[in-house]
Amino acid sequence: MTCRKDLGSELIALERAAGTVGKRYWRSLEELSETKAFQQLIEREFPSQASVWPDSLSRRKFLTLMGASLALAGVNGCSVRPAPPAEVVPYVRPPEEIVPGKPLFYATAMTLGGSAVGLLVESHMGRPTKVEGNPDHPASLGAAGSFEQASVLTLYDPDRSQAVTHLGQERTWEDAATAISAAMKKQRNAKGAGLRILTESIVSPTLAAQLAELLVQFPEARWHTYEPLHRDEAHRGAEIAFGKTVDTVCDFNKADVVLSIDADFLASGPGHLRYAADFMSRRRVRTAAADADRAEMNRLYVAETAVSCTGAKADHRLALAGRQIEGFLRAVAARLGLPAGGGTAADEGWVAALAGDLQSHRGRCLVLAGDRQPPVVHLLAHALNDRLGNVGQTVIYTEPVDARPENRTRSIRELTDDMERGHVECLLVLDANPVLTAPADLSFTEHLQKVPLRVHLGLYQDETARQCQWHLPEAHYLEAWSDARAYDGTASIVQPLIEPLYQGRSAHELVALLAGSAHVPGREIVRRHWRKQWSERETLQDQDFEERWQTALHDGVVPDTKFAAASISLADGWQRHLDERGGDAAEPESPAVPSAANGAPLELVFLADPTIYDGRFANNGWLQELPKPVTQLTWGNAAIMSPTTAEQLGLKMGSYAHGGEHGGYYMPVVKLQLDGREVKAPAWIMPGHADGTVTVHLGGGREHAGRVGGTAEEKIGFDAYALRTSDRRWFAPGLKVVPTGETELVACTQQHHSMEGRDVVRASTLDRYRQNPHAIADEREQEHREISPRTDEPLTFYESFDYEAPKHKWGMSIDLTACVGCNACIVACQAENNIPVVGKEQVSRGREMHWLRVDRYVEGPAGEPVGFHFQPLPCMHCENAPCEYVCPVAATVHSAEGLNDMIYNRCVGTRFCSNNCPYKVRRFNFLAYADFKTESLRLQYNPDVTVRSRGVMEKCTYCVQRIRHAEIGSQTDGRAIADGEVLTACQAACPTRAIVFGDMNDPQSQVKQCKDSPLDYGLLEDLNTLPRTTYLAALRNPNPRLVTE
């Protein structure tokens, strides 16, 4: 405030001094700004201004201030009274980059679970609205997962903590700084003996350096790390294999045969977007029909418990209980000549075929162990890759991306022990929620009370915040400067797109405060780190640094930061560890197959929630409402089991909720009892799940997540952490499942598994394709002849539309082989098109609003499914659209470019179009779903897309706003729209590039080539709708030795 006043008085002084400026009309701001005095004012202004806005001085703020300065300098006649700093200062001269209506993109990165994904964030007039992947970033290649896509909603979440609080009372950052500084002063004398810092996995080089520096200042202090979805077993596995902790980085581009041991590498874990892209690049069949015999595909074997996206895409999938998987891998290893021993389970023929396949692809195969599996499984995977000559080919080892790859469980246990013994005087929890996530047996919350000073920095007033005296609001990653490493070590600078909406600060700034320095903006901290890094290797001039810095910001990657492959080999005597019982390794005497028959105990498997991760995204409505891949559950978790197990337990699907199969069920509630702990959970039956096992997703049932994610009165799902202990981290035997007779509503967007013998997803195998590439086309021909004579001309009463070039004829092709069902496209669509969240009750009534859905079908009997299919369903934009002719008011009409346009303003809401849509892709605003009220959420809306009110039908538009943008751009430049210039939101998000969109008039376009493929088919073609979205049939590549036809 005082600084502002200074600025005002300075301006008056300036005007008086300049004399000529004040009393005379000036012609332009430029003229004024040319005066020397003004230049000086600008120069002098910023150091002081920086303290008015204590946060970093972003480019945007700079420009705002610049505009403000000019504005104020121009005011005369009236007394100069600067606006209070909280008020927004209008642009007098807009920053040159910002053109109203034209979005800007900035590169940044989001960190989750110990690795980062590089992103490009779309900003409209200073508001980040949409997250896209950064094509230059190795972990993204242009794709972005659902968590990244949805993060923009968290940014604007009105439930985010907005103020510093002390014992629930609102305070200022200054108060907090005083309190913390006092405590630190005391700690400094004790060398920090009572100081503990708890973080999650840190992959920010700057933050890691800051913390390391802090530990130098406070040598007795400890930095603990804990994260519920940790990689302890993988790290320990590497340690016993190689003698040191390393990260495994896979190269699926080179792998012909992949064996995944409980690893969902296509949809979760570090680098999964890249892995999915690489994996599918070897699976896509795009050869012309003439070259069909040269078509190639990789082959995927998966052994897993619950059906994951990866398992669903497998050519051969084995459903095994978590603890059986080790035995299976041992059997494979034994067959490949490793001294594994003790191999059991599994079908011998399967193992032999798999081993043979791996053996014959030496150096071109890959064995991958999932993070849940015990260290010994990782050891075996490393040994197998070594034996099969894959190291250096499909697998490389690098130093860990994690700045502190310690054992998380041990770390949190040590912290708890210290707290219990009263050794901890001051605990700082940086962006972690251990009260929710710590192992249940440690009584973390209880021991936490013994710590005299507890400080929590986080996005929300969550469970941990409520147990700490001080809560400090954290800046969201889109609000703060930072940096982060991707799965392969590549570093990115995280640059903010907006000033903190609330009073958030980053962990960097807080750690700097602990280190005793006066307030340093986050940007400075990050810049200092990289300046230091870069000058270590060479002498760096200021200008060089700026250039590099700008390049790194612009590109979203810091050059030459990727980790080199470590040259390591299996440590001597690794075989000794084959009997190590670390992690959740099976006891040697444990029964091979758990079974619910005769009331025998079952196995409980803990899994990351596919939509809310470890619970941190619980308050994100997009993610809560996003159907979980495969199960299609929304708004809460369930105890997932196989049909056989459910039958043995006497559990059945409950009665329909309002929406029936497209809505949910009142499922029987069971008590899950494990080692004296108990939770109640609704059961859910999923074909393909391993028998004798119950899977639960972590992160549900939160008490203090927010208005969306659950409160003590109204929880979303159940808290599976209550069953998870420090020695049963991923799967636990001895589970008792007791039906209670109660029921609970489980919302599910698609329960029906079967295709009912209809040709919804057409599938074939590589062999059959090679023999007759036209098999699918022949099949269609055959059916159509039976139903109606088919000609190339559309059968219609009306004159057909004319799309002669240079008009466009838009079309989409979706490759069912490539779709992994991760559902990232759904969130992308939701963010792009302002699609509202409707809540659990409305979902259970079958009224979710997603314009794009990903259908899941199970092939074969429910008890023993033989395959899974995913089918993304946007609007088909039919040429003979059934919706168009039934609309009484012409609210849905054909566009000149073939799109099926929806005119919201004209819609009166008869819903006939939805009834008549055989694909059921239309969505209706049954109630007022769109949020017009919440101020912060309004900032998220895409200004190019109408926000629909109630009573109006809506549906996929092929992102028509993006087509228009490209059209305007091409017209301005006087050129045609290039192929690939228009990317629909779903297409852009898709990690495997399964969705292709473009102009079918262009014979060279990718979409045209897809449509010419012999695998191309339209859904429900026999209805003569002539869909513009077509599919490429799903191909699999089963091992001929295992095909029993």
């Binding site: 029936g660 809505g663 079958g846 008011v889 009166v908 109630l927």
Partner: protein
Amino acid sequence: MSPVTHMSNEPTGMPSGPRQPDYVPHGHDFQSITEQISDIVLVRRTGLGWIGSFLFSNTLLLVFTLVVIYLLIMGVGIWGIDIPVAWGFTITDFVWWIGIGHAGTLISAILLLLHQRWRTSINRIAEAMTIFALMCAGLFPLMHLGRPWFFYWLLPYPNTMRLWPQFRSALVWDVFAVSTYFLVSLLFWYLGMIPDLATLRDRSTTKRWQVIYGVLALGWRNSARHWHRYESAYLLLGGLATPLVVSVHSVVSSDFAISNVPGWHETVFPPYFVAGAIFSGFAMVLLLCIPIRHIYRLTDFITVDHLEVMAKIVLATSFLTSYGYLSEQTLSWYGHEKAEHYVYLNRLIGFNQYAWLAWCVFFCNTIAPQVFWIPRLRRNQGVLAAVSLLVLLGMWLERYVIITTSLHRDYLPSSWGMFQPTIYDYLTFFGSIGLFLSAFLLFARLLPMLSMSELRGLLPDAHGHEGGR
């Protein structure tokens, strides 16, 4: 043509009553007919029964009003509709009410042209029922719109947007069909009532009612010229209304038949819907006539013979409707189209879904009316009322089953779902019955329920009058 020869047109094999009915009010003369019917309006005290019924139906009407207000505030999401079943109770109610309205025109127009004299005793009641049923029916498509305040966009009117309705949509046809039907029915009803209104004007004792009925009677003076014009106009209107009997419900059936929804896309729908409409319409007339003839002592005019002939029509239309059921099932089986075959099979055996309702439909609409083969039963008023009630229920369920089962499991199994009504679905439906009953009770209290002039025309003394036709 004497009544006796006319009635001998009946199939000879049919067991008929002990005598051939002539539908003439025996034991009455011009004066007694006029007195008895006009006294109901002019002399009879408003009974407690009427007041009780009126309060009851007004309560229902109040519920209806409140639900509509709530609907306008919240949106159609208060009902159970969803995706895939985006039409639920409202469209069912609409088709049901429209169907009920069908008996009116059939009785007024077609039976008039066919010189069925038994229509004379019931045509006024049937026409009034038609008007009120159409009033209820017309509200449902409006309410069911997502944005009802823009309903007029379905009308072709000049506007600055230069937009017409989209004429390929059956919903636009509906607007024309239903509004035409309503107008013609209203005209028919009113025109037929003019001589009676004049009678009421002449017989009322208070100034107020003399003025009101006088205005409504449009200066009717009973002159021969009046009668001549009246008869011509009435006959012409009858001719005009005749195609409407077939067209309205055919158009309503197009709401379904022009779609590509399995279970809706049927060529049999137009005749099948018309038959069903007449079926339910006559059931409703029966249900209204049975208590009215007792309460208002009209047993001389609405005789058991009248009820019996209506029962025969109910039986006949039951067969036509059942033929529709059979045809749908057979053709879907014969057509061998996967989705369609599935829908019809599911309708029969999907007991987790709606099959039990479909079997209720078969029971109410096909089996129950079979009791009318037995003369004793079709002359028993209790049986008649019970079967009529079952038929009305069955026809409502039939539309519900057609709408719901076809939508809930169509082409893509991924989108299969259910429709389950909410309390508001029920309240809207029962509320609309309140509207119907309130209007009907007012009609019974304020207007002549039977056509005095036409009944007088049936008397043997009125030969001259009859010869004028």
